[in-house]
Subunit: 458 residues, 2 copies
């Protein structure tokens, strides 16, 4: 039987989109090229996902799972003979369980819908990032997304209590447990979380929730040296008593560039400093959180670690401070051929790394258009962005930066994953033995290389 | 070459103990039978561990890794031809890194030594349980131990940033990363954590740390119904603003038994109630934590959920309250042939489960000697203990209780693991598909079945 007929029999012909029609939509949010694939199917249940995978595995059709297609790694790029498996109809989710503080959701649910449902129940889903309006739970789990709240709540895998996943041959592994402790043999869920759809298709999860904070305090701080930044992180972690949600560092070049672009050059702080931090605490005590936050910031100023500080006095001022950190429009124009790195480093290596990158670019790629460094300091996670006037030397530049990451024992992908884009650089962060073990696992779980072939591993 | 000579060449003859000498020590803390094994080796480095494993794998000798031998699952029981690999000489650990809030430690370090070193630096290692004075880090990680602080800090795997592990064939997988975000391919560490030494031998880890709290407040609460207990857990999680460390439930029969045994029958609370909770908050604000704790407990009383409450007024009173929860001496006498279950259940099923176990024992095993239920409610984790006058009907009793756990979607091992003891019951919590996947992984990573054979899986 013909592939399209067989797949339409499983999902219903309304939920199979053929190659011709797919070409009209972009491959993903970041790559405005036509989607290539034999077809896209939209199964509505784990049984349909299982039947699609079993058919494809039997018939040698590669399967590329897709969620909101907001990944930055070409994680859902497909070959012309591949079947795209969209999770968009697996978008049911329950009301949060208030006693257990958990929620069960299909992998196709959009992150923001889940966040809002939890918030309405007085609870918080501890995962948030820019693409919340399009990204799906399944995508976030399969790439182990990070984001703004990881300092407090951990990354995507830390939110998961139980998981349902379909293997390449259609086998359903369902372990939808709501409790925090479960030591019954190997922890299979963590193998699938972060494996970018190459070992299984996540169809549903039970997620832990947290009490939703009711207060927010935000400050912008400046520093004259890096050690003072890390000392202040430790201080805030301790003295803000677990309410610290964000601690976002910006190197001067990025900060002043965005202040110029967004605030007409009028910095919220008086003097120019090499490092800035946007920090935020979210608490539960409206009668005392503001005063405590102010007192802790004052103590950090008095200790001499913080050079200058401004505390947002209104929601509008808070948004203005966050905009300096979050707005990348001007940067995108500046950098023309933009090259960005999403990396982790030991805290103790960050300062040296940033100087060495700057030096190396100046020496070896003098045509580079600037160096913007910022990130989630508490997670050891920096975003390093630069640009070139023309693309010719992009690979040289990447090799140079990845080499410095490897030298300092860093990770070439902190929160975005590997996909196609970073596959050739995996060896900068993982040893040959580790990569061989990954291949062994891939081979054991997907011997016919059906699932998202070519992603992470060649 | 002879096995003993070859192994002595690797670790040094002083660090090889032969079968005869081993027979003089008990197999483990809970089983006072002679240790059986061909020999015990004590490698002093990852290189020596690698060489021992490579030799054993090549020569068909099973290897059983051991740490503090405090596990409750016969996780280190060996066959006469097996080589015991003790991690006791892998006990080096660094001073905690104050900026990064991490510590690097060998797997042979005793938990308490690590805790104390972190505490002296103003930091807390977020894992604690009764066997802290003997249990090793490697044992805690390989069984994914839980314990008293999991409500706040998570279980053993949640403490791990980076891991070094040796595979069955001697391959070293080293990924000693200190940062929180790292999405460079499959997360191998989580496969080894909790796999009870059947997939690899953990030799070293980088662990995350937390600020050490400086205040502690403890209360004993009583409740007339179970829903009021779970509502109070949610309330305390919210209103104690992240400082809640423990929320330990005790069913009446256990509570009153221990009050009789330890307090001469004088309960700290006035009336008899079906449920009691020992809760504790640890904070950072000496000037306000006591008052806040008292206010939150008063609000729970006013809301009618908490029937009665006593707040410890001194360290002595705090110890007395904890003793009711932690002392098992009298229970051990009572139950003669003691049978205990370490389970997780959905919160919504706990009340019904406890009634059904009681009913089933009364109906089918009327000679049972009582039913003690207590546990870490916030983790969904109960410890259920009963006893029989003689051992004949132990298996009937176990099948009955495991059947009820399975009926309610529970876990037959919350924090102790499977080992030999629960191997035959694994199917009560994991599906045939999951168990087949575990076998597939074992086969892929340890094709000759060298590592801890027969544990978890037959």
């Amino acid at each position: 039987m013909n592939a399209l007929t067989s797949l339409a029999d499983i999902v219903g012909s309304r939920h199979l989109i053929e190659a011709e029609a797919l070409r009209e939509r972009p491959q993903d949010f970041w790559n405005n090229v036509p989607t290539r694939a034999l077809a896209l199917v939209r199964p509505a249940s784990v049984e349909e996902v299982s039947a699609v995978l079993a058919w494809c595995n039997r018939n040698g059709s590669p399967v590329v799972p897709e969620g909101g297609r907001t990944n930055l790694i070409q994680g859902t790029a497909a070959s012309p003979e591949a079947v795209l498996l969209s999770t968009e109809r697996l978008n049911q989710f329950d009301a949060p369980d208030l006693g257990a503080m958990t929620v069960q959701a299909g992998s196709g649910v959009v992150l923001q819908a889940l966040q809002e449902s939890c918030h309405a129940a007085g609870l918080r889903f501890g995962l948030d990032f820019g693409a919340r309006g399009s990204a799906t739970l399944g995508g976030a789990l399969s790439t182990n997304a990070g984001g703004f709240q990881a300092l407090r709540y951990g990354v995507a895998r830390d939110q998961v209590r139980g998981l349902e996943v379909v293997l390449a041959d259609g086998t359903v592994l369902s372990h939808l447990t709501p409790y925090a402790k479960d030591n019954t043999g190997y922890d299979l869920k963590h193998l699938f979380i972060g494996s970018e759809g190459t070992l299984g298709v996540i169809t549903r999860a039970i997620l832990r929730l947290h009490p939703a904070p009711v207060t927010a305090n935000t400050a912008l701080l400046s520093f004259t040296d890096f050690d003072a930044v890390t000392r202040t992180l430790s201080r805030l972690r301790r003295d803000l008593q677990g309410t610290l949600s964000s601690f976002e560092i910006m190197w001067r070049e990025f900060f002043e560039f965005n202040v110029d672009a967004l605030c007409g050059g009028r910095s919220p702080l008086s003097e120019s400093c090499p490092f800035y931090v946007l920090c935020e605490a979210e608490g539960f005590a409206p009668d005392m959180d503001d005063a405590r936050f102010e007192a802790v910031i004052m103590q950090a100023l008095d200790a001499g670690d913080v050079k200058d500080a401004v505390i947002a006095q209104s929601a509008r001022q808070r948004d203005e401070l966050w905009r300096i950190r979050e707005d990348f429009e001007a940067e995108q124009e500046l950098f023309r051929v933009m090259i960005d790195f999403d990396i982790s480093l030991p805290l103790s290596a960050m300062d040296a790394f940033s100087r060495e990158v700057d030096e190396a670019l100046n020496t070896h790629i003098p045509e580079f258009l600037g160096l913007h460094i910022l990130g989630h300091l508490g997670d050891g996670n920096l975003h390093v962005t630069t640009g070139l006037p023309t693309p010719e030397r992009s690979d040289d530049l990447k090799a140079l930066v990845y080499g410095l990451i490897a030298k300092h024992g860093g990770s070439i992908s902190a929160e975005h994953g590997i996909g196609l884009n970073k596959r050739d650089y995996l060896g900068y962060s993982r040893s040959p033995e580790e990569i061989a073990t990954m291949r062994l696992l891939k081979k054991a779980l997907d011997p016919k290389n059906t699932l998202n072939p070519g992603k992470i591993l060649q």
